[in-house]
Subunit: 264 residues, 2 copies
């Protein structure tokens, strides 16, 4: 995708979201740029959550953490205001979803900390650039995601099962996908499992817990990556008095380049 | 294994073989050093075989090719005489095994070319250094090897099926093994297949075509690497008028370090 890389495209997406002109999903916007999951938490649980992310880098690869009360994220891009630059948010009170606004400036508090977490869009772009099929993109649906029997490493009140996303691949493509995604540890990295879903506690591969089921063709192996839904489900279980996340698929588009996420 | 690395150990193994003091297998001798498969062919077929290796680098990773008639291999180590420095050889005439001597100096000809091909010992050492189990080593037997339905790229008279070796691993270990062995393209590199053996034409995983069957435990996946037996079986099929190989397990121990074979 780098052949048509537009270095200002990410900034324009954010400005469109800020102006209310963009309220839909961000998939395929500003190709080549890193998109990020969002969790905003009050300071009293933010330190525990930071420790949780540090202990669970595969599902929770932290791209940036804001200063308390500061909505800018200079590490992720020019002029970012995390309260307005995402097309749609989810607001949670005591674990309950209470609103899905396009702007959270009116809800901002001096004690809030924003966590920006890597997203599979980055490694999927690398897979596509390598000629590997990504089934849910081919089928135009959401990636299938599953709660597993693999426990995360707890920190303070945060604990819960690892959530994984699944992409079916032929064996040779699975091997290549492991090589390709191993280069991207800051956006979930290498798979955590492949083959028999029951070994990680998935009862029915055709009944994902989140997202949509996709076709698994003869000769294909399900390959499982740690998923950014893990921190969301862990935060939801803790039911903090207040929390803001992005609405699914409505990500922060950063100035970082996917290609620069590769460690090798 | 590098903690006890002895840089002169490989040379001493070769001198012991040359003196007839070592006539057995070379596994675990001179730890840390690259061991190599041998094929010696007359010049009239050597160029075709060289092209065959170039086209099939995963089963036939060439470490060195001698000058015609020259038994030294300066790229692989000090003072190597390929006619005497391997503990045991196999001599083939018109495709038939005629002798298993410990020295082939008396058979040397001015038109012979020696091909030294990378061996799985190198990547198995890296697997063990990473804490990954290698079942046939645990069980004290040979690695199981299988003819597959995957064709090699032909060159001149040389053609035939890819032969693979198999190591059973849990999924997470298989993913790590792919990462580890991808670093070693000159010694077979990443696996070529994993999972269902029938997809590459293997009818019964418990009946290898070469080597020994190994236990595959519940939750383990068979993982398949391109194997250095491929060139041997391809050469055997051509039935050249004259050919010398190493006896199985009796390798050339080189001065090269396994750790230096890693590309990353």
């Amino acid at each position: 995708m780098t052949q048509s890389l537009d270095l200002g495209a990410a900034h324009r997406v954010r400005l469109d979201a800020r102006a209310g002109k963009l309220t839909g999903p961000t998939a395929n916007l500003a190709p080549g740029h890193v998109q990020a999951n969002l969790a905003i938490l009050p300071a009293d649980v933010a330190n525990d959550f930071l420790r949780f992310c540090q202990r669970n880098p595969k599902p929770c690869p932290l791209l940036a953490v804001s200063e308390p009360g500061d909505p800018s994220l200079p590490a992720l891009g020019k002029d970012i205001d995390v309260r307005s630059d995402i097309p749609r948010y989810r607001v949670w009170r005591d674990g309950h979803l209470v609103d899905e606004p396009t702007d959270v400036r009116a809800l901002w508090r001096d004690d809030l900390v924003a966590f920006l977490i890597g997203c599979s869009f980055s490694f999927e772009e690398a897979m596509i650039d390598n000629g590997l099929p990504v089934r849910h993109i081919e089928q135009g649906c959401n990636v299938p995601m599953y709660r597993t029997s693999i426990a995360t490493e707890p920190a303070g009140p945060f604990h819960g099962p690892l959530v994984v996303s699944m992409r079916p691949l032929k064996a040779a493509d699975a091997i290549r996908a492991i090589q390709v995604t191993s280069r991207f540890p800051s956006v979930h990295g290498a798979p955590v499992h492949l083959g028999d879903p029951s070994l990680i506690g998935i009862r029915d591969i055709h009944q994902p817990d989140y997202g949509d089921a996709v076709e698994i063709r003869p000769g294909e192996i399900p390959v499982f990556w740690a998923c950014g839904v893990t921190p969301q489900s862990v935060v939801a279980a803790v039911q903090p008095e207040f929390c803001i996340t992005h609405a699914p698929g409505h990500m922060l588009v950063t100035d970082l380049l996917n290609s620069r996420m590769a460690v090798l």
